[in-house]
């Protein structure tokens, strides 16, 4: 399943400049989102995910995170429910992601 992690670099090549002028790749943000969702037992709202992203990166464009979530869903990493809350699409990948990233649930 390593390709799920590897292909992030290919799929999410966009860049964003943070408030200090540092360039951040979308891949890094996507990885952080997946890390966060991997250890959740409940789907997370966009605001909950955005607050985690802001705690990791000095960025202000919320919309970019929304677009990223949408892309992660289109690429079958995530799914969203009717309330626009996101979770991993497949429990198997969620478990693999947790292990591969060394996350503690």
């Amino acid at each position: 399943m390593e390709h799920f992690r590897k292909r992030l670099g290919t799929y999410y090549g966009g860049m964003v400049t943070d408030t200090s002028g540092v360039t951040i790749r979308d891949e890094e943000i996507a990885r952080e989102i997946l890390d966060h969702l991997a250890i959740q037992t409940e789907p997370q709202s966009i605001n909950e995910i955005w607050s985690v992203v802001k705690a990791k990166f000095e960025i202000t464009d919320r919309n970019r995170t929304v677009v990223l979530l949408n892309s992660l869903a289109l690429d079958h990493y995530l799914m969203s429910d009717t309330k626009k809350r996101y979770s991993f699409r497949f429990p198997l990948i969620q478990r693999w992601w947790m292990m591969a990233q060394g996350l503690e649930g």
Binding site: T19, V22, V52, K54, E58, L74
Partner: protein, 848 residues
């Protein structure tokens, strides 16, 4: 008294809030949100904790001051809110000192409610017990009121609290639910960003974005009004004013504080005043920056010194070379400096370039080391700010004073400052052009003329061309072509642009003359020459002179050192030209040649693959055609629209092969792709409905068609899709389902104003009806349903008459053309070939 001192750049909390409010820009909504949330925290059980993150001078204290002022101005909060605003430089060494800080602030602000002798009762207790006892006493004195804790430099406070202090503080906040927080920090810190820490996810973090040039202009304008210099406002809106703001922007790095300090510089008309103001500023700020640099470890100080000496960004390798610090250590220390906000980095290719985060810090080191000589950075700034002629005249006029010293250094120094600003402007203009924001691009181009007049002219030319203002574009190009000091490259670029504009006007002769002029110019770089050949080839092609077009494309292909992108483009165009001549083999060979060039740009590679797929398809080689479309789809870096185009074509090919599931998947993929052009998306929205007729229920088909009409771009030629293909699919369903399908399709096409397109589809369906082996009853049913559904619709009147006549032809025994005679002659000629199965191939005119 100097009016400037009304605004304290370093301690906004000491400035009159009314003034702060008047010069507040960019963050009005954020302020509103903060006041609203904290206000709710004071009047309800919800407690909000807000953390503002931004470097020094980014306006955090300004925002905090206004938020508190706003809250204190609310009458309804007067009895319910108490504020403990800890000093910006208060240092805490544990939870106990934080507790003392809160108690002491409250006692100072509200002496009737809180005791200043909070220490006596807790003497003799352990630090943790004392802290909790003081905090509980504060909470008990609060009664039903709520506390707003305001603390700056939260990162330092957290460091001093340590892990156990943070946990205890968090537990206390949770347990009492009476305290809301408004905090600031210079950067994110582990206490809030590390998933394992107690405060992870606790704060609503707001990052302080740097000022944009527009916001900066607004801020400077407002500060000027405070300084009673209203005339500046209109100057700031002029191209020159905006350019100068941009120059300040580069100097200040988007930092609010720097703008407040530099605002008055814009009013300095004379060089002497500007130089004096700069030297004063440098003198004034030196202690501030010195203090910051002094607090750094030796190696980091050395790296800062190196970056200050350099005039631009440096790579780690270069910094290591200059400082004799080992590369790995250097990289680590630069990382630390970046985390502290002293430096910033930008990745270009594989290398990271480091630069000072605050360019003004360079001034500080210069002031210390220049011993009376002009400050290099100020000289460079003057070089960007004033035209060389102004500096020159100052130099020759007054030879011995301070100003002429500066002018001399400015004229000697390389104009890196304005070239940096010009570089940034050019790339912003390019981005604007790309995104279609032409009016902003034009405005920026008018600023660019102060940094690089020729480049500004070339870009204006391009913008005017895109706006369709070809005459202005041609005039701009002509000015550049006739300017004495343009380089050969710039002249060639202007000639090519003018040629393209002439071509667009249909003046092919002048277009050809301009392209030919570039081809014949000596010293033009190969790229310009190749571009001129390609453009001339296209122009010849437009005139129908395929042989000359081929010759131009071949010239580029045979150039040994033509840029690869132009070579690839020439090959693609030549392939198309060969295709027009019916030379299939050569056409294929050219596309294949592009595909085999390893370094060919992705867009040309994708285009060659796609065109080859189409060529194979025209030759009936479905397998190879599908392979080429698939190759485009799987290319990692093909442009989105090329991929979408390949998906649409592959989907259509699958549809023709009756592989409906594969076809649907391809059209769906287009609909899921972000960034696809409205034209392409509209095509896919309608195309996906066709295979669905075979695979899905009628209800689902109806919904998909409705979605296509709703989401599709009504201006696009794809709007409405290809109704004859849709009807062909409907004919495949049982006749029992026809009436429902026909009713739904007709109502949607009529409702969304594309009934005429449907009419063409109905006419074309005659052929499918004729060739499909349908019984007389079925043909009657198809016809009668359409006649009923389409009755009264003007756009369908003629197609329905055609269908009615064709039905009579198909039912006649023996077959006869006679029913067609009721149709107008020109229509009859169109309908007759659709009935070849029943009537046989039409005989050539005159043959009986």
């Amino acid at each position: 008294m100097n009016a400037r001192h009304n605004i304290s750049a370093y301690t906004p909390s000491n400035t009159d809030p009314e003034v702060l409010k008047r010069i507040f820009v960019q963050r009005e909504k954020l302020l509103e949100r903060i006041v609203d949330r904290l206000s709710r925290s004071m009047t309800s059980g919800d407690k909000h904790h807000i953390l503002l993150v931004g470097p020094r001078g980014s306006g955090k204290t300004h925002l905090v001051t206004l938020a508190i002022w706003g809250l204190q101005g609310k009458e309804e909060l007067a009895d319910v809110m108490r504020v403990a605003w800890l000093g910006e430089d208060d240092s805490f060494t544990g939870l106990v000192h934080l507790a003392f800080g809160i108690a002491s602030q409250l006692a100072q602000e509200y002496p009737d409610e809180f005791t200043s002798d909070f220490k006596t009762p807790v003497r003799g207790l352990s630090q943790d017990d004392a802290a909790l006892a003081v905090l509980r006493s504060v909470i008990s004195r609060l009664g039903d009121r709520k506390l707003l804790l305001v603390t700056e430099n939260m990162d330092q406070t957290f460091r001093s609290l340590g892990d156990s202090g943070q946990k205890k503080w968090r537990a206390f906040l949770q347990e009492t639910r009476k305290i809301a927080t408004l905090a600031t920090a210079q950067q994110l810190f582990a206490g809030v960003s590390d998933r394992k820490e107690a405060f992870f996810g606790f704060f609503d973090i707001q990052h302080m974005a740097p000022l944009s040039v527009e916001d900066a202009s607004e801020l400077v304008g407002r500060v000027s009004i405070e300084h009673s210099k209203r005339e500046l406002t209109s100057y700031l809106n002029s191209p020159e004013g905006r350019y100068r703001i941009r120059a300040l922007h580069y100097l200040s790095g988007g930092n609010h504080r720097m703008y407040v300090l530099l605002a008055e510089f814009l009013t300095k008309d004379s060089l002497a005043d500007l130089v004096a103001a700069f030297e004063d500023l440098a003198e004034e700020m030196t202690p501030y920056f010195q203090e910051r640099i002094r607090s750094l470890p030796d190696q980091q100080r050395q790296l800062i010194q190196c970056l200050c000496d350099a005039e631009g960004a440096l790579t780690v390798k270069r910094i290591a070379g200059e400082t004799f610090i080992e590369e790995r250590t250097c990289s680590k220390q630069l990382g630390n400096l970046k985390a502290k906000g002293y430096v910033r980095s930008e990745k270009q290719g594989k290398e990271s370039y480091y630069d000072m985060a605050e360019p003004l810090m360079r001034l500080c080191l210069e002031v210390k080391n220049r011993r009376g000589r002009p400050l290099r950075m100020v000289a460079r700034f003057l070089r960007a700010w004033f035209p060389a002629t102004a500096l020159q005249s100052e130099l020759t006029g007054t030879n011995a004073d301070r100003v002429s010293e500066y002018c001399a250094v400015a004229l000697e120094s390389e104009d890196t400052f304005s070239s940096t600003i010009a570089g940034k402007l050019v790339s912003t203009i390019r981005d604007n052009i790309k995104s279609g924001a032409l009016s902003s691009a034009k405005e920026l181009a008018s600023e660019l003329q102060f940094a690089d007049a020729v480049r500004a002219g070339l870009l204006s030319d391009e913008i005017e061309f895109m706006e369709g203002d070809l005459n202005s574009s041609i005039s701009s190009s002509t000015i550049i072509i006739e300017m004495a000091d343009t380089t050969v490259e710039q002249k060639a670029e202007a000639l090519i642009k003018r040629g393209v504009a002439y071509g667009r006007q249909g003046d092919f002769e002048r277009a050809l003359a301009d392209f030919s002029a570039v081809i014949e110019m000596a010293d033009v770089p190969m790229g310009g020459k190749a571009q001129a050949h390609v453009n001339r080839g296209v122009t010849y092609g437009q005139q129908g002179d395929v042989d000359r077009a081929l010759a131009d494309y071949s010239a580029v292909i045979e150039m040994t050192d033509a840029p690869v992108n132009l070579k690839a483009r020439a090959l693609v165009y030549r392939g198309i030209a060969y295709g027009q001549q019916g030379d299939f083999e050569r056409e294929l060979a050219d596309y294949t040649a592009v595909i085999e060039i390893e370094s060919a740009p992705a867009d040309q590679n994708a285009r060659a693959l796609y065109n080859r797929g189409v060529a194979y398809s025209q030759k009936g080689d479905v397998k190879r055609s599908l392979a080429d479309y698939s190759a485009v789809i799987e290319m990692a870096n093909a442009p989105v629209d090329q991929k979408a185009r390949a998906l649409v074509s592959r989907g259509a090919t699958y549809w023709h092969q009756e592989q409906f599931k594969e076809s649907t998947a391809d059209f769906d993929a287009v609909l899921g792709m972000p960034g696809v052009s409205p034209e392409r998306r509209t095509g896919a929205l309608f195309a996906v409905v066709e295979p669905m007729v075979e695979l899905c229920s009628q209800d689902e088909v109806g919904k998909a068609l409705l979605r296509a009409f709703e989401e599709g771009d009504a201006q696009s030629s794809e709007y409405g899709g290809t109704p004859h293909d849709l009807l062909r699919m409907v004919l495949r369903r049982g006749p029992v389902q026809w009436p429902d399908y026909i009713a739904e399709i007709a109502s949607l096409f009529v409702k969304y104003g594309v009934a005429e397109k449907l009419g063409q589809g109905i006419t074309k369906s005659i052929q499918y009806l004729d060739e499909g082996g349908f019984s007389e009853t079925q043909i009657d049913r198809w016809n009668s349903t359409w006649q009923q559904v389409g009755e009264g619709c003007e756009d369908l009147e003629l197609p329905l008459r055609c269908l009615d006549a064709a039905t009579e032809v198909m039912k006649a025994d023996p077959p006869t053309e006679r029913p067609l005679f009721q149709l107008p002659l020109e229509i009859r000629k169109l309908v007759r070939p659709l009935l070849n199965r029943s009537l046989g191939e039409p005989k050539p005119d005159g043959v009986t």
